[in-house]
Structures are given as C-alpha cells and as structure tokens.
C-alpha cells in the first residue's frame, strides 16, 4: 500500500519534469533547436526506432525487418562491444584476482605494477588502442576490456582476502584438497565481492563504449549522438541519450537479478 503510494509519487515526478520541459518549449523560454520539447524527442525516437525501408518479403523475415531500425542496430552494436569487452576483461581479471588474493607471494609480485596501471583511466588508452588496433570494434573492445578488468580484479582480490579463515579450516577438517577448497569454498565465499566488481565493471564498460564509439567506431549509440550533433539534431541527441540510459538501466537490472540469484544464501539480502 505504502509502496504503491511511493511508486505513484515517483511516476508523478517524472511526469512533472516532462511537463515542465514541454512548457519550456511551449512558452518559447528556450530555443527548440537547443532544447527540443519531449514530444519532438518522442517523435524522433520513434523514427530512429522504426525500420527505414518498407517491408519487403524477398529481402528477409519480418523479424529482421523489425530489427532493421537504426536505433536497434546501434544498440545491438554497442551491446555487442560491451559484452565482448566485459567478457574478455572479466575472464582475465578473475583468475588473476583469485591467485593474487589467495597467494601472498603473487600479490606482492603483481601489486606494484597494478597500482601503477590502475589509476590510468581506460579513456587514456584511446590513442594507443587506435595505433595498435586501427578503427572499428577491436580498439573499442580493448578499451572496454580494460574498463571492466580493474574493478573485477580489485574486488576479486579483496573478496578472496576477506574469506573467513574458519571456512578454510572447516574444509580442511573435512579433508578437502586444495582444488576443492578453491572451487567450493574460496570461490563461493568471495562471490559477493566478485559480483560487486562485475557490476561496477559493466557500468564502466558502458561508459567506455560510448566514448570509444565517439572516436573509433562509425556506428553504435555513442557514434550516433555525436553524428547528430554535426547536423544540429538535438532531438536525436536526446533520443540517443535516453536510449543509452534505458539500456544501462536494463543491464544493471539484469546484473542485480543475477546477483540475487547467486547470492540467495547471503545474509541480509532480501529477495
């Protein structure tokens, strides 16, 4: 009941902001070229979303026609890069993080290098990535992988180090081998940290993909909003930005679902 009222208030706020925004254009307070009203953005959005060609049965199925709109193509391109980069970054970070967390020697060996590399923002790798990989997907995936790598790595290390020694003792008491301890105790015990790292990592990946597309790729949501700026299509810029926001929200929701599922054993988590 109470929750329903809260939700209603939240929706009202959004509607209020939209109304104010519309009013800004309606009363001519701001030039519509600079800040187009929401209905203009919505129209542009629909255009951006819809297929550009009329349906033609010879050239493919209805589904592929429905998905042929520019927005969907851009979103799929961006998502592909995010996921590819995120998977590469995570797959590199996880084993390194597990080893560094579990072995003091490995930690002391790698930590200084890590501390030097970690503060470099992934964006700073853009020139190098273009030199190394040229233009297109490869440099973008490289940058995103770097963006995802460090959060996952740091959290995995912290997670393994935070594993309560009593669990290790209990496992050894039951006769567990090193491998069993690693897979059945250390890994699950550190999943809360690892998942936090992955959530931060995918957020970073999503930021990096937009920037990478503005510079090194000629499609995707980041490319599209920059392109729209050149034609002064501010309605399309905003439509693109809102699409980025919605996709980011969807990714975060998906991560949170995964989190709740994998951590259903965890204390203090309500589902």
């Amino acid at each position: 009941m109470n929750e329903g009222i809260q939700r209603f208030k939240g929706v009202m706020l959004i509607l209020g902001v939209l109304a104010l925004w519309e009013a800004v254009g309606l009363f001519g307070w701001v030039n519509a070229k600079v800040l187009p009203p929401p209905h203009a953005v919505a129209i542009k959005w629909w255009e951006y979303l819809s297929p550009q060609q009329p349906y033609d049965a010879d050239s493919g199925s209805r589904l592929s026609w429905l998905l042929s709109g520019e927005l969907i193509q851009d979103a799929m391109g961006s998502l592909y890069r995010v996921l590819a980069g995120f998977v590469v970054g995570t797959l590199l970070a996880l084993p390194i993080g597990l080893v560094m967390g579990a072995s003091r020697a490995a930690y002391q060996l790698c930590n200084p290098l890590l501390q030097i590399l970690r503060p470099i923002p992934p964006i700073a790798y853009i020139p190098l990535s273009i030199l190394w990989f040229g233009l297109g997907n490869p440099p973008a995936i490289f940058l995103i992988a770097i963006g995802a790598f460090f959060p996952v790595l740091m959290n995995t290390i912290a997670g393994v180090r935070a594993v309560d020694g009593i669990f290790l003792r209990a496992a050894r008491n039951l006769g567990a081998s090193r491998t069993t301890i690693f897979l059945r105790v250390i890994l699950p015990a550190s999943t809360p940290y690892i998942l936090t790292g992955m959530r931060i990592g995918i957020g970073t990946a999503f930021i990096v993909v937009i920037v990478a597309e503005m510079i090194a790729v000629n499609n995707g949501l980041g490319f599209r909003i920059l392109e729209a700026r050149e034609y002064f299509w501010s309605d399309k810029i905003i439509a693109g930005m809102l699409s980025i926001g919605l996709i980011g929200l969807a990714i975060d929701q998906a991560m949170s679902q995964l989190n709740n599922h994998l951590l259903r054993w965890h204390r203090g988590l309500e589902h």
Binding site: G175, R184, T191
Partner: protein, 264 residues
C-alpha cells in the same frame, strides 16, 4: 576403530600488541582409545586452542601431539571437529553442508543422499535440508555442524561447546544421542564445555584447566555408572567438588584481570 591421543609438554603462545599471551603451558594429557574426555575451564583458558592443536590447525611451538602414535602435522577427516562458531558454509544448503565431507570422500550421490537424510532425521532437521544456514536458529546451526561431523564417521570427535546454543531439552536428547554413538561406534571424544553438569553427565574423565597460563589443574576420573542420574548423591558430590575448583579458578582469573587493568 577408536584412536588414542597423546599430548606431551605442549606450549602455545599468541603474540598480541600488549605482550605474548600464554594460551597453553606444559599440557600433558593422554586420552585412550574410546575414552570420553571433557575439558572444563573459564573462558579464555585455552580450550579451543588445545582442540585446534589436536585438529592440526595450529601446531604447538613446543611439545608433541600424536594420534595413534603418528604425530599430528595437518588437519584431517580422522579428527572431525565441531567448531565453537559452527563454521557452516553459508552458500551451501543444510543437506549440502552435511554431505560435503562425503562428497570429498568421493561417495556416490545416492549413498550421500541416504546418509545425509538419516543424519538430518537423527538431528531433527529433516524439514530443513534445502534451507540455507541463514534461515536457521543458532541451535539448529549447531545441530547441522554436529551432523556434518557425524557424517564423516571419524574415529576421533573434537567438539568445542557443541551443545552451548541448545535449549535444555534438545541438549539432553543430543547428549544421549552422542553417548549412544560414542559407545556403539567406539569413538574417542574430546569435548569442551562450560557446564559442570554436562561434563559429569558425559565424561569418563574431566580435565579442569587454569586461566593464563592455560595449564591442567585437575584430571578427575568419573566412575559413575551410565546412564547417569543427576539426582544421585555421587553425582552431586562430584558437582560440588568441581564447582569449587572452577570457582577458585574463576576468582583467580578475575583477580588477575583486575591486576592487569590497574597496571595497564
């Protein structure tokens, strides 16, 4: 099946910021195969430290511990331990926790399941097999920890206040159950408790420890016939005797602590 434990001249100190704490000093104790020994002593006297040493988690800096004549160098499933903190794996369900030791041994899944079910039934946990430890009360967690160790079927049971969090009724029924398992399967048991009555009810021998340094104050054999009757005069005689021992140790410990506080 049972195994003997021989502890000779064991010392263990812990370095702390305020100086070294002598947790165990010159502990010598022989536990015969099949014996049930209770460790009794004030909080902080080193009972858990001694159990950890026998379990092989932290080796003493001096002295030796042997099990069946073999020196203890590492932990192993031959010495099943019920931890004071339960140490259940929160990411495993109750049934997975209980079955983990058997899984490690490589038993077939069906065997694990039937053995786990039998243990859950024994410890009145049947309805909770698929729950995670976070859903259980303290006493239920303690019973899961006991079930997990019973599943191992180790010849030696090291139990660190295993019944501490249980209500009186459950405690009594588990004490009876433990005695039954112990006598039927011929286990050797080293059992830590704060309860004088519990120690008299269970033990062949009661070892009373002193506080800082942790030493053995008295080693008392209990000759009462089983099942023991807590209203019997002999039972109460022994209870009085032990109460006095523990109380004097408690007083010494409190005086020492006051002294430590005033000199700090």
């Amino acid at each position: 099946m049972a195994s003997s434990i021989v502890i000779t001249g064991v010392n263990k100190t812990f370095p702390t910021p305020s100086g070294a704490v002598v947790a165990l000093k010159d502990i010598t104790l022989e536990i015969k195969a099949g014996e049930f020994v209770c460790l009794l002593g004030p909080s902080g006297c080193g009972k858990s430290t001694l159990l950890n040493a026998v379990a092989g988690f932290s080796l003493p800096e001096q002295g030796r511990i042997t099990v069946n004549g073999q020196p203890v160098t590492q932990p192993g499933p031959d010495r099943g331990m019920v931890f004071q903190e339960y140490a259940l794996f929160p990411w495993m369900t109750v049934a997975q926790n209980v079955g983990f030791g058997l899984e490690i041994k490589g038993l077939p899944k069906a065997d694990i399941r039937s053995r786990v079910n039998a243990l859950l039934k024994l410890l009145k946990l049947s309805e909770f097999g698929e729950r995670f430890p976070r859903d259980l009360s303290g006493g239920m967690r303690q019973r899961v920890a006991i079930a997990r160790i019973l599943a191992l079927d180790s010849p030696i049971l090291l139990m660190d206040e295993p019944f501490g969090a249980l209500d009186a009724l459950t405690r009594r029924s588990l004490q009876d159950e433990l005695l039954r398992i112990w006598s039927e399967l011929g286990k050797t048991v080293l059992f830590v408790t704060h309860s004088i009555e519990e120690s008299i009810f269970l033990a062949d021998r009661i070892v009373v420890m002193t506080y800082r340094p942790g030493t053995i104050k008295r080693d008392i054999a209990v000759h009462l016939p089983r099942p023991r009757d807590s209203s019997a005069p002999e039972f109460n005689q022994l209870k009085r005797e032990l109460s006095e021992l523990v109380a004097s140790e408690q007083a010494r410990h409190e005086a020492a602590e006051r002294l430590a506080l005033t000199t700090d």
